[in-house]
Amino acid sequence: MSLVDRVRALLGDDAVDVAATPDGVPRVAPGSPDAVGLLLGTAREEGWRVRVEGAGTWLPADAPADLALTTRRLDKIPAIEPQDLSATAEAGTLGSVVATATAGPLRHGFGAVRDHLLGVTFVTGDGRLVQSGGRVMKNVAGYDLTKLAAGGFGAFGVIVLVHLRLRALPRADQTLVLEGSREDLTQVADDIAAAAVQPAAHELMSPALARRERWLLAVRFAGSAALVSAEEAALRAATGGRFTALRADEAHALWMRAAESFATRPVTFRVGGLPDSSDELMDLLQHQVGDEWISASPGIGAIRWGGETTVDRLRRLRRTLAGLEVPLTLERAPWPVRAAVGHFGAYREGVGPLVAGLRRTFDPGEAFVVAVEGTE
């Protein structure tokens, strides 16, 4: 029986779309977590290599595989609990965000994906459903396997369900911007931090990204009206009133553009260093891979880069950064680049065997096609 017939027999005719992928890999869309388990259990028996796809907006669907497993039919949001500020969502809505642990400028004020994840259910490479965490705000029952799901790039399993912490929409939301040279804005960013201004986002964007003549420092306050007006006043006091307030529609357009720009460039990576090394790291990026599409949260030392580059340049940059004890995580790239460079590259001494052990634990048959370390 062919692979396609086997899967149809397993999950039904409508679960397989043979012609859907550009590279002709049959695409399977299981309709439930159990169906994902069934499929991967069979993949393990048959030795199929599986690539996992979300909505396809983030990672390109181009890894060589026997079949493509898409979570797009797992698109339900079974629970939103406003009284608890929590929600439960199937992976088709947020799986890629969790798997890549990608984040935008609001990470400055609200934290990373891992801090919003209450629990995860994932399916291992041999088809077991593993539930971790729960749906309550605090949970130390057992080891925290959700941390492996967040930012694991699917190397430890297919995320099928996530429990999330929600936040109330802010009553007030104000963005202010200042245009200038990167050097000047870096000084302003330092002044803001020194004045203990506490924005929700505090982002330095390259001219192309911000669609401005020069670099842009965008500061966003979100919360109660009293908080936002007090913080805005503190910002103005700390910076001599140089910032311009954006209208709500202008602010929305700016933040959306900043987010979407990284999903449209062929390569996106993130770099995480100490806050006071942010400027030095930006110089390094500019020098080695260019700085056309850069967005930095200097307050937390996080930098995102997008654009076109080569395997050699990425490897060289990663080596330089490793010397500074700064990791580079490749979020998005065509398969040949991912395969060569890897999402993580080389680990620190002694960590490689731990990661390898974890991968063997969750994917004993090496069913998942994920370029974790690269080939260097």
Partner: protein, 506 residues
Amino acid sequence: MTATAGGRGERGESLAAALSEIVGARHVRTALPERVTYARDGLPTHRRVPGVVVLPGSRDEVVAVVRLLAALGVPFVPRGAGTGLSGGALADDDAVLLVLTRLNRILAIDPKNRIAVVEPGVVNVRLSAAAAPHGLYYSPDPSSQTACTIGGNVAENAGGPHCLKYGVTATHVLGLEVVLADGQVVELGSPGGEPWGPDLVGLFVGSEGNFGIATRIRVRLLPVPRAIRTLLADFNALRTAGEAVSAVIASGIVPAALEMMDQSCINAVEDSVYAAGYPRDAAAVLLVELDGSREEAVAADADTIAGILRAHGARSVLSAADAKQRERLWQGRKKAFGAMGRLSRDLVVQDAVVPRSSLPDVLEAIGRIAAAYGLTVSNVFHAGDGNLHPNISFDGRVPGLKARVDQASGEIMAVCIAAGGTITGEHGIGLDKLRYMPLIFDGDALAAMRAVRRVFDPDERVNPGKVVPIHACREWSGVRNAEFGMRNKSSSVDSAFPTPHSALTS
């Protein structure tokens, strides 16, 4: 083959001698009266006397001790100040207790990057005191923070009242230097906190010592809030107080802390030296704290929250007039656990977490269970997180009473699980909650945890018998239960608690 530490006999003596060569004889405890002082943690209900106690004084000594124990195949248990509430830092007679309190240096405070690097034995409040001159502090504040160590906090993923707004220990740990079971030293994470590969720092925090010993801990510091408002609201009924909690959460204003105490707890505190002026006739009080960097914003939020509390049944809302009154209100809360220790000889402490919207129903159900078993249950807990601490006071010398307490505990846990909750929010599983693990995790989830543990510790030699009830694990990729099945034979996987759904609905 696993050797034993053994306080007695030739083998025990040669081990003690070898340990003495590494750390010095006065830092190895073999005499029974000395070992007995380590037989419990903060929970009075579990007692294990360790075979040998060793107190290394440096990272290198820890490595040397761990290598020695690895070579001999001797199990060991890392321990901080021993303030834990799960029986997690107890070692059996065949194991070495590795006490880390001598590794107590604050290695660096970097005010520009708001980062500190500490050894595991640093006491929680000492770090905040050291950071204070820079206008910074370490946020996680378990009630035991004047005694507990950061290393212990990492092992348990400790919480505390102010985790509501600022997050638990895992949120604040950026990187770790870890000594694995075989003595190998690895660096997890990166200096800035970005994971280097998969998030092994996040995985390690809360692993209850099973993945190794953290010898250097890099943590985030936060700016000391410039403005603080502390409110005390009192209520005629537990249910009303629970409903007020939901109303506050739904408002979108995140208090720094939102704590609840019931009447039994209020009276215990007021009878103690930590009397805080809580109204004794209230069925419950809420202690709500708001903080931030802007005085006017915090004042406005406090007014809003006070209004919500009044609208949801608070008899009165008191705002602390000054730092001294605030301190007093908090002192009562922080010492409530100790105060309840005065109620009777023994105490069972629970740590379940429920969805916040179910607090009113769950609190009433706990009251019904207590009444049905004729027991005194006091509630003092992190209401804003839904993290309950129902405490059962009893005298273990009364025949049959302990069995009744266990039965009632099981029923309370079942009510919390039925409401969508979990069995522990900040205390950890340790020995104490092993029996509840199969109630919330199936065989595959438990087997996955065990398999992950074996990646870090293939022989399951570090803090053996804790966290995962091995008999409840499904077989996992060659990890068979029979291999190490004897290790936590004491854990019962019998989950035959009567699940009193009626307690929630009746």
